[in-house]
Amino acid sequence: MVTTFHYLLLGAALFTIGVIGVLTRRNIMIILMSIELMMNAVNINLIAFSNRLQQVTGQVFAIFVITVAAAEAAVGLGIVIAMFKNKETMNINEIDLMKW
């Protein structure tokens, strides 16, 4: 039997994978994908809670998250492309003009 708890566990696992991806990977595209993974992990949580509480708020929120994540991804890709035109690298460690 799959309960709400299992969905939450899945959400937490995916979120953690996303966090680790952002922190350890050096390729910008993979970092972007990890951030998307984190957002979608939250969606799983929202839907699971929405189902358990029998409230539609969570589902509507998930739709908002999906659209916002798409807009964010589009802007993020735009920024990456703009940068790629000036410097051909996808490695976050090579983007180091400014350091303290």
Binding site: L8, G11, F15, G18, V22, I28, I31, I35, M38, M39, A41, V42, N45, L46, A48, F49, R52, L53, Q55, T57, G58, V60, F61, F64, V65, V68, A71, E72, V75, G76, G78, I79, V80, A82, M83, N86, K87, I95, L97, M98, K99, W100
Partner: protein, 479 residues
């Protein structure tokens, strides 16, 4: 939902900004190259119209649209700050965009959208709305940070801001999802009610409060979540840096106060000490690291971190007096910091070349007027009596002492003394060093003058006659 819940007046300023933003955006391809700067004035008129529409909004207090939109004094005061920030930023950037040959009026659209997002954040009584406002603000600001597309530094700034911004947004979302699961609602008042009953899983609530706190700390750039700030501020176009250092910060604090003092007051014992530590760490780190920065944009970045620390002290006080002091401080800080960044915009010349503190050497003898205005902003940021900065800091430390946060007040005063060193070093450069630059190519056009006059007048007014604004913030703090 039926037609009866609609109240246009309650959302009028946000509506005005959005509509003007869209009009500027759609008009851009249809307008000839020569007339593009007129769109900047249109955007400026839009912010003024939004400011005027605060009056009908203030007459429609209460909760609207299924309780997700709230209009109260707190909201009105913050909206005033946001619109002021937007207006001054438009004035500063008009000349800047022309100088840098970046005359794309999309900039003004983005700025108006970002401001609309901030208004949403201040007025939201619902975490879904907070999230939407936050994202509208953030996404527009990511683009603005990378507005100088051909410049690698600007790209890098946008990329860093984007990565850390969306990373923290994900944390914010996770926190909202958990609080929704624990209390069954995303409405702040409903959450507060649910938390007062005892049937709640307190560990889940604490975790979600922690996640929301971390995410918002990223947005307002307080230590230990501040590391992105100097890089992003240094690389972004200077007027955008000015906007970023006040706009998202003020909006972030608006949400912090609203969420934590409305929804989470019953578990204050769980987050109060965290705020205490964040405030202390931020004041110390920001002020100490600012001392060694040769680049004035980086110096002001660390200074903005330090100022966020002072506002965090007011937050740690968790009293109405604290909120009132924070609101006053946000207004004062916005005015003086925007003024300082407008001056940096002027002096940095084309492509933001001259941004070191030593580039200001001899400004006092060559351009005494500009030097005097910049000195005023620096003294105010440092907190010299008679300026807005002093009044703001005074109210914050008083609120801290009333809430028995003696150590925070002491740390605040000591770090303020440290901050004198780096603010005054700019003044020393201007008046006591030999000029190696004629400053002959420093142009000062009408809009920039206007921006400087507003900020300088505001800084002096808040410093010399703070009582009227303080009365306003006191009522605003009662929400």
């Amino acid at each position: 939902m039926n037609l009866a819940t609609i109240n246009i007046a309650a959302i009028l300023p946000t509506l005005v900004l959005s509509v003007v933003g869209i009009v500027v955006m759609v008009a851009e391809p249809f307008v000839g190259e020569q007339k593009k700067s007129n769109l900047g004035w249109l955007a400026f008129a839009g912010t003024l119209a939004a400011m005027l529409s605060l009056v009908p909004m203030a007459n429609n207090r209460g909760q609207w649209y299924s309780n997700l939109w709230i209009v109260d004094d707190y909201d009105v005061f913050l909206d005033f700050i946001f619109l002021l920030i937007a207006a001054i930023t438009i004035l500063t950037s008009m000349d800047f965009l022309r100088r840098e040959e970046l005359n794309h009026p999309e900039f003004y659209s983005l700025l108006l959208f970002a401001t609309a997002g901030m208004l949403m954040m201040a007025a939201s009584n619902e975490l879904v709305m907070v999230f939407l406002g936050l994202e509208i603000l953030s996404i527009a600001t990511y683009v603005m940070a990378g507005f100088r597309r051909a410049d690698l530094k600007s790209n890098e700034s946008a990329l860093k801001y984007f990565l850390l911004g969306s990373f923290s947004s994900a944390f914010f979302l996770y926190g909202i999802a958990l609080i929704f699961g624990a209390t069954g609602s995303t409405n702040l008042l409903a959450i507060a009610d649910a938390l007062r009953s005892s049937k709640i899983q307190i560990s889940l609530v604490s975790l979600s409060a922690a996640l929301i706190l971390i995410a918002l700390c990223f947005k307002v750039a307080v230590a230990p979540f501040h590391v992105w700030t100097p890089d992003v501020y240094e690389g972004a176009p200077t007027p955008v840096t000015g906007f970023m250092s006040v706009g998202p910060k003020a909006a972030g604090f608006a949400v912090l106060f609203r969420v934590f003092l409305t929804a989470f007051p019953s578990i204050e014992d769980r987050w109060g000490s965290a705020i205490w530590m964040v405030a202390a760490l931020t004041m110390i780190l920001g002020n100490v690291i600012a001392v060694v920065q040769p680049n004035i944009k980086r110096m002001l970045a660390y200074s903005s971190i330090a100022h966020a620390g002072y506002v965090a002290v007011a937050f740690a006080a968790t009293s109405d007096r604290g909120v009132s002091a924070a609101l006053f401080y946000l207004l004062a800080y916005s005015l003086m910091n925007l003024g300082a960044f407008a001056m940096v915009t002027i002096i940095s010349r084309k492509e933001d070349k001259l941004v070191n503190v030593t580039d200001y050497a001899g400004l006092g003898s060559k351009r005494p007027g500009l030097a005097a205005v910049l000195s005023l902003f620096m003294l105010s940021l440092a907190g010299v009596p008679g300026t807005a900065g002093f009044a703001g800091k005074f109210f914050i430390f008083r609120a801290a002492l009333e809430s028995r946060l003696v150590w925070l007040a002491i740390i605040g005063v000591v770090t303020t003394v440290i901050s004198f060193y780096y603010y005054l070093s700019v003044i020393v450069q201007m008046y006591m060093r030999e000029p190696h630059d004629e400053f002959s190519d420093v142009r000062l056009c009408g809009s920039l003058k206007f921006a400087l006059v507003i900020s300088a007048a505001g800084t002096l007014y808040l410093g010399l006659l703070p009582t009227r604004v303080l009365d306003w913030t006191t009522t605003a703090a009662l929400r």
